[in-house]
Amino acid sequence: MLTKRIIPCLDIKNGRTVKGVNFIDLIDAGDPIEQAKIYADQGADELVFLDITATVDKRKTLVELVTKIAKQIDIPFTVGGGITSVEDAYSALQSGADKVCINSAAVRNPNLLNLCSEKFGNQCIVLAVDAKQINQQWLVHLVGGRKQTEIDLFDWVKESVERGAGEILFTSMDHDGTKNGFANEALAKISNLVDVPLIASGGAGTKEHFRDTFLHGKADGALAASVFHFGEIGIPQLKDYLKSENFEIRIN
């Protein structure tokens, strides 16, 4: 049986993590590699690095970061934040990333999903989508949630999978930061709509929220940042709990 995945997310700017991570014994709290190694040792199943660097030489900094991570981390990882072309995706994958995640760039140029999946296979193309419920409708938002579109979340997810997305990372902006749980109703709807893996993001506050998103949201993995960074939930404790709730969870 495939196990449910627990995925910490790290925001990177100019090679350093943006939100500090509150680990005991961490020498340099801004070093993403050190943080990533701790998560990997604690039993994280996968890592996501979102590079929010805004320099002209972005691709070069991304390649440097990916190479550093790949040298030291022995679990799969996804990078995103600056993938706007096939060349960007190629650089990241060639340097050792297992998957790239594409967000706004795919909305602006949906064909990018076709091109990337034809070239690299859909297994390494993750569609990240941020959405918010407005007048009963889930609408896709761009540039880190700052720009609203009129695109329906479910239509977009379906189209993206038809075009070649091999995994969906859905962040509910209504839930993100609230620590009140994931958007399970919308997640379950996505899970029934497409047959690629689905990662829930936004809203993790307790261990029970992870259980609920696997149970009711039908998610294959759950992503969180602050509850892990600030030590509010320990990954080993979370995994023990989920195991006791009879989910397939990787312990060894």
Binding site: L2, T3, A70, I75, P76, L93, P197
Partner: protein, 194 residues
Amino acid sequence: MSKVVIIDYGAGNVQSVKFALERLGVNAILSDKPEIINSADKLIFPGVGEARSAMEEIIRVGLDKIIPHVTQDCLGICMGMQLMCNFSEERNTKCLGIFKEDVKLFKVDEKVPHMGWNYVKKKESKLLDGIEDFASFYFVHSYYVPENKFSIGSCDYGLTFSAIMERDNFFGCQFHPEKSSKNGSKLLENFLKL
């Protein structure tokens, strides 16, 4: 120290394998040159991507004449293992014929690709020394090799398939040992010690 060559025919993520070996203290060489491949003590045959174009590239550089006849220990990883079989349903591709088995597309009531960590039931093999039964490894694939007489590890995903195979000096694993944390690193270490 033994000379490890990663067969590099443009099949995707070879850096990760190289880095995993570096973590074990081995500086592997990447090459598609027959003379370098033949001079190796250990060979690793990786593969990510699509079978037909990978085989076309292998034939173009002449590796189809080399790989099936190597006498060193050779480990195929993921699609590398699939290409060691007879035939793949992925665009009906004739493969290298080292394992006389066919590669099939998953037609199961589960999401495809099979992506994530799954458990491997193991048999006795030096490759798996010190690895627990039902240890977890990281998989990403849409095609599989059915369980067969070469299988030394099996995995369940809607059906039971070969996770690890062994025939003489040839080994294959469907998962990515370079991404499978301590269990994967142990397997690579065992391979280097064979």
